[in-house]
Symmetry: C2
Subunit: 196 residues, 2 copies
């Protein structure tokens, strides 16, 4: 019983509900700053594919204040460090679709971060496929979240013919708790280095 309750709790310090566009994603969140947050994905394109967003829901980067931009991208920097470390990756794709015509599916600024290693996309047709997927159905985080809400509300049973299954809440929360611990290590280390 207590483990059930535990599984539904967001990582500590994330008690307040967090919105990504119209979606409540609190239990997917693994890091939160005064102005930004990081969340794990329902259907990552590769392991470690996460999103970094400003807490305030605006569609375009040019609607963010100077403080929000600084906070958002220092969080992107920190998260790229953690992803590369914990996924043993040598590189990271960072992509922002700023507006619908650029492929944005949720009208809330979000940076995709995808840790990359040599040959990691060979099975899917090569490295450039990551972007094709990001733009296509596979990367449509809005569609995935809508499906997830449907599943949770029992309204829109998800029917899909591709092989990737949306992950369970439990799986996402487990990853969120793990990344929450790991990113804290880097945040602490970085903060120590900066104050030297």
């Amino acid at each position: 019983m207590s483990s059930d309750i535990q599984a539904e709790m967001p990582p500590s310090s994330l008690a307040k509900a967090i919105q990504f566009g119209p979606f409540t994603v609190t239990s997917q969140v693994f890091y939160k700053t005064p102005l930004s947050f990081c969340l794990v994905n329902l259907k990552p394109l590769l392991p470690g594919h996460i999103l970094v967003c400003p807490l305030r829901r605006v569609q375009h980067i040019d609607q963010l204040s100077a403080h929000e931009v600084t906070d958002l991208f220092s969080t992107v920097q920190l998260a790229s460090r953690t992803l590369k470390r914990v996924y043993n990756a040598s590189a990271c794709n960072i992509a922002i679709q700023d507006g619908e015509a650029a492929g944005q599916s949720v009208p809330h600024v979000h940076a995709h971060l995808i840790p990359r290693s040599d040959g990691d996309m060979d099975a899917q047709g090569g490295g450039d496929k990551i972007y094709e997927q990001l733009e296509g159905d596979e990367g449509d985080v809005g569609k995935h979240q809508r499906e997830e809400e449907g599943v949770r509300k029992g309204k829109f049973p998800k029917v899909e013919d591709d092989k990737r299954k949306p992950r369970s809440m439990e799986e996402m929360e487990k990853e969120a708790r793990w990344l929450a611990e790991e990113i804290q290590k880097d945040a602490q280390k970085f903060s120590n280095e900066s104050s030297l």
Copy 2:
């Protein structure tokens, strides 16, 4: 005579040579801050495709200082505003290939900015093709710069079978001067708004 000299001069205030990886790109630069700069592309994937870089040559975002990250992304924000305005675009793709395994071709942090409008990629096969091109030969800014250096030095005559021709220095400098004027308007406006 004076117009020839004029055509070879970088936009004012950019007298000092600016390096993008191993390449001198001074005359392609249209905006410079204390820690960052914006440059036009030799072979833009779409009109308005530009790069934003830190002045210091490091390969990865996590090698940048907090000040450099703040300066870089406030410049990305400003440039996205200018590109959308002057290209009458509703959106913008922002992409960073942080490391070779992510498709980075020049080991110097750079954000690709590509203004986007509905249907702008229809002739090339749809919106997701922009990323395929970014990852492929078309988006290889290192290859393009190497070819340009070859052309300038008369060493490696460029042979290419695709239809896109690298632009002339004159064309790039003309665009750089135009964008230099336009981004100053937004920088001024933004600065006024921030100080209200």
